[in-house]
């Protein structure tokens, strides 16, 4: 292992990445939904940390504010509102689950083996003068890291995110997408507000709260 090119930032990167994996697993594997929500919050914070390490501070801040701050609050509210389950969900892996999980592994295999060279190579040809152009082969960084040789000097990306560049992008280059996002948010607000209304009459006969209560007995509440 070539520890010469390992800087403190790399170590932080490894730690943050590893922890985010752990908390991601926590999201999926926890029994109680509230635990899942808290693990997700932790994952978001950790990913925000990754963003910060890469000097994408704008996005890091947005991640914390939006995701961890607003969306997850929403989730926690809904979980609290709909009641924590009396019995913690037992994670049962039934046959359909095995079937699906195998596809997940297959997908990961495809990602890992199939896309590594292709996308990076095509990315190299799209963007000129980028950092990747200076690499001779796509696996060079890892080779350097593992075998301990370094034919190239250490290269550091030097993207600088300024409000000017962000503003340029939002309001000049990608203005259409920006406005569309605005409309989308408006639509979602209207939709959510409508869906969350309470109505006196049930939407379907035999499906109202009273009917459900009679069906399930009073055990759920």
């Amino acid at each position: 292992m070539n520890t010469e090119s390992l800087s403190i930032l790399n170590i932080f990167m490894f730690i943050l990445g590893g922890l985010s994996l752990v908390s991601g697993l926590g999201v999926v594997l926890s029994r109680k939904s509230l635990n899942s929500a808290l693990c997700l919050v932790a994952t978001m914070f950790l990913i925000a940390g990754q963003f910060a390490l890469m000097r994408a501070d704008f996005i890091a801040t947005l991640q914390v504010m939006l995701y961890a701050g607003a969306i997850m609050i929403l989730f926690v509210f809904v979980i609290m509102l709909l009641g924590v389950e009396k019995d913690a969900e037992k994670l049962s892996f039934s046959v359909p689950s095995y079937f699906s999980i195998s596809f997940v592994f297959l997908f990961f295999g495809i990602l890992f083996f199939g896309f590594r060279d292709g996308i990076i190579t095509s990315a190299k040809s799209i963007v000129e003068g980028s950092y990747l152009d200076q690499l001779e082969s796509t696996t060079e960084p890892i080779n350097n890291f593992v075998t301990g040789t370094s034919s190239n000097p250490v290269l550091v990306p030097d993207l600088v995110v300024t409000p000017k560049s962000i503003g340029n992008s939002i309001l000049v280059d990608q203005v259409v997408s920006f406005q569309a996002i605005g409309i989308l948010l408006l639509a979602s607000i209207v939709g959510a507000a409508f869906l969350a209304q309470t109505k006196k009459a049930p939407l379907l006969p035999g499906r109202g709260l009273k009917a459900m209560k009679e069906k399930h007995g009073s055990s759920t509440n």
């Binding site: 359909p96 079937f99 699906s100 297959l106 495809i110 896309f115």
Partner: protein
């Protein structure tokens, strides 16, 4: 005893006075341009129409008592009990019998007309083409009939004796309720046989070949309600079929090398064929002939065929079908003359067949079986003649054999009917005083077949033996022991067979007609319908060869060896021939006389001899255990294999795996796939994701 024979043979001059150039085997093609006469087309057509009509017309004569009308003649070994006095001594003919006999008589008349047209005309043959049958690339086959000297002889025999047998059958089957079917089959057989003989193309001959095989099956198993009869019919058909496979392969070979299936074309192109091809084609065709003409190893069907009605035996297995093999070889004479190895094989097989069948006939107790084995034996003689290259001599023996064998079979049938359907000769005896006409006919037939002097069998059998002795094919070059060549050894076996023939035929005569009656009830003479053909056929059996033997050989000059063309008196001038003829005459006389003496005065002697030589007796009585051998070697393994395949393929694979399995697959698939429709979000998400993965996978791979 054998040393006597050996000395006799050794004392004869070995080098015959005939040189190589004088004995010319017939080769070459049928010569001059044929006459076209469309009356020929009617010849096979009349019996065919007759078959249809006699089936549709049907009926039994009204003179019959009705309460016997439903008794099937279930088995040919019917017990004598239930027939009483109602056997066929009435001469009423059912309508179908009348139609059928008229049809065959008409075809006989037509044959005579065509025969005279041929005799007086300018040409060697009459042809008539019905239509162009196959026109496929190189293969051009017309539905064309050819009436030349060879076919003329065969047609005369077929239609003439056929008509007499139809008349006979109308008497024999008078009590049978299934007469329409019977006569339809008989006429159908006649038609098929005529197609066989008249066909100008091997394919057309094959149509007739198969047709007679089919009719043989139908007629042998006529009383099919008895399992044994059905099995006998089946055996005949299957063994015949094996021969037919050989015939087909021979046809394929010939077509491959000559591009045609017409005998005239084939014979013209024989010189161009490689020698091996000629031999192979010849042997394959001979397999077909062996199947039809009951040679070793395909003779086993003929004795079993006695399960059919006696007229069937008379027509098919004496006069016509079994001679079609001989006819086919004669038709392609040029081909066979160019295949000396095949001819050698034929001689050996013919001789062996003749000998073995004769030994089996010696110990049989059923009169029809005696006659059946004697048929096989005589067919062996015909093949001996063919193997020697003397095709017309083989045909000569065909003609005389047709006369006396049909006579013998019909007489035997008459005896059987007269003794109330008894067939075991041990229950006969002294029938002469009850059935004089039948007796006279049987004596005439026995006289002819034994080769007693100046009967028709005498001349033909002697010609066969002489042809074998003096053959110049391969058989004359193989030395069996010091100084004796194969053809002379075959002659020796032939003489021995002739002796056996005389012996067992006289035995059957004496056991049946002389002595005291050992059976039940009173035998009676049979009806006019049955006796008349007997008397008619007795005449040619006795005098045909004397009057017309030489004419026949000259008529078939194209197929005759040159030393036979001068006639009998020319042959007699050959010293060797004279000696051989004398030997055979004395042999026949002595063995016939011996047999007569034993079975008149020393009736206990045969039993003593058979118990003395009991292993040999058992072997002969068991028909040399050939059927059992075939059963062991062929039938049982085949059954075993088919059982394996049945269980393996049919039950396990097809029934189990494919049929039941496919339903199980559908069932399981349905049950499994049903779970997709569980309606949960999870299942739809899983499905979506898995398909997405597949798409990505293919995108990456391709």
């Amino acid at each position: 005893m054998f040393s006597i024979f050996k000395d006799l043979i050794l004392s004869l001059p070995l080098s015959s006075s005939l040189t190589q150039s004088e004995v010319v085997l017939p080769v070459g093609e049928i010569s001059n341009s044929p006459l076209v006469d469309s009356r020929l087309l009617f010849l096979p057509l009349i019996p065919l129409v007759g078959a249809l009509l006699s089936y549709l017309v049907g009926g039994k004569p009204k003179v019959e008592d009705d309460h016997h009308s439903d008794h099937d003649h279930g088995s040919s070994h019917d017990s004598h009990a239930h027939h009483g006095s109602h056997d066929s001594y009435k001469s009423g003919m059912s309508l179908s019998a009348i139609v059928a006999t008229t049809a065959s008589s008409l075809s006989f008349v037509l044959t005579l007309l065509l025969f005279t047209a041929l005799g007086s005309g300018v040409s060697d043959s009459i042809v008539a083409s019905a239509w162009s049958w196959i026109d496929a690339g190189d293969l051009n086959v017309d539905f064309k009939f050819r009436f030349d000297h060879l076919s003329a002889v065969m047609c005369l025999v077929i239609t003439g004796i056929g008509s007499l047998i139809h008349l006979y059958a109308s008497g024999y089957m008078a009590e049978d309720p299934h007469q329409p079917r019977f006569f339809a089959y008989l006429n159908l057989f006649l038609s098929a046989m005529l197609i066989l003989v008249l066909g100008d193309n091997l394919l057309l001959t094959f149509v007739g070949w198969e047709g007679v095989g089919l009719c043989s099956y139908l007629l042998i198993g006529f009383w099919f309600k008895e399992m044994d009869n059905a099995k006998a019919g089946q055996k005949a058909f299957i063994v015949n079929r094996i021969g037919d496979a050989g015939f087909l392969l021979g046809m394929f070979t010939l077509f491959y090398y000559t591009g045609s299936l017409s005998p005239s074309d084939i014979l013209a192109k024989v010189h161009n064929m490689p020698a091996l091809a000629i031999e192979v084609a010849a042997i394959l065709l001979l397999i077909g002939a062996a199947g039809k003409s009951a040679q070793i190893p395909l003779y086993i069907w003929l004795p079993d065929a006695m399960a059919g009605p006696t007229p069937v035996s008379a027509l098919i297995h004496a006069a016509t079908m079994v001679t079609s093999g001989v006819y086919m070889v004669a038709r392609l004479a040029g081909l066979f003359s160019a295949a000396p190895h095949a001819l050698l094989l034929v001689s050996i097989i013919g001789t062996l067949t003749a000998f073995i069948a004769a030994t089996i006939a010696l110990v049989q107790n059923d009169i029809k079986k005696v006659l059946a084995y004697s048929t096989v034996s005589q067919l062996g003689f015909m093949f001996m003649a063919i193997g020697a290259g003397a095709y017309s001599v083989g045909l000569y023996h065909v003609v005389t054999h047709a006369f006396f064998k049909a006579l013998l079979f019909m007489a035997a049938g008459s005896v059987i009917v007269g003794c109330h359907h008894e067939q075991d000769m041990r229950k006969f005896g002294g029938l002469f005083k009850y059935m004089k006409f039948t007796g006279i006919s049987y004596i005439a037939g026995t006289y002819a077949i034994s080769g007693l002097p100046y009967g028709s069998g005498f001349f033909s059998k002697d010609s066969v033996l002489w042809a074998t002795y003096s053959s110049t094919g391969l058989a004359s070059t193989i030395e069996v022991s010091n100084g004796i060549f194969l053809n002379q050894a075959l002659w020796g076996v032939g003489i021995l067979t002739a002796a056996l023939t005389a012996f067992y035929m006289t035995r059957s005569l004496f056991l049946t007609f002389f002595g005291t009656y050992r059976g039940h009830g009173t035998p009676h003479e049979t009806s006019f319908n049955m006796v008349f053909p007997l008397l008619v056929l007795s005449v040619p059996s006795l005098i045909f060869s004397f009057l017309y033997g030489d004419t026949l050989l000259t008529y078939l000059a194209h197929w005759t060896r040159s030393d036979f063309l001068g006639g009998h008196h020319a042959l007699l001038e050959n010293h060797t021939y004279h000696q051989l003829e004398t030997i055979s005459m004395w042999v026949a006389l002595i063995s016939a006389g011996l047999s007569g003496l034993i079975y008149t005065f020393a009736k206990g002697l045969p039993a003593k001899i058979s118990s003395l030589l009991s292993p040999i007796y058992k072997l002969l009585l068991g028909k040399w255990y050939v059927d059992e051998l075939y059963n062991l070697v062929i039938v049982l393994p085949l059954r075993g294999i088919s059982r394996v395949f049945f269980i393996l393929f049919d039950r396990i694979l097809i029934d189990g795996l494919l049929v039941t399995g496919s339903s199980v697959v559908v069932d399981v698939a349905g049950t499994t796939l049903k779970k997709i429709h569980s309606g949960t979000m999870k299942s739809s998400l899983s499905l979506m994701f898995s398909l997405f993965v597949f798409i990505i996978l293919f995108w990456v791979i391709l």
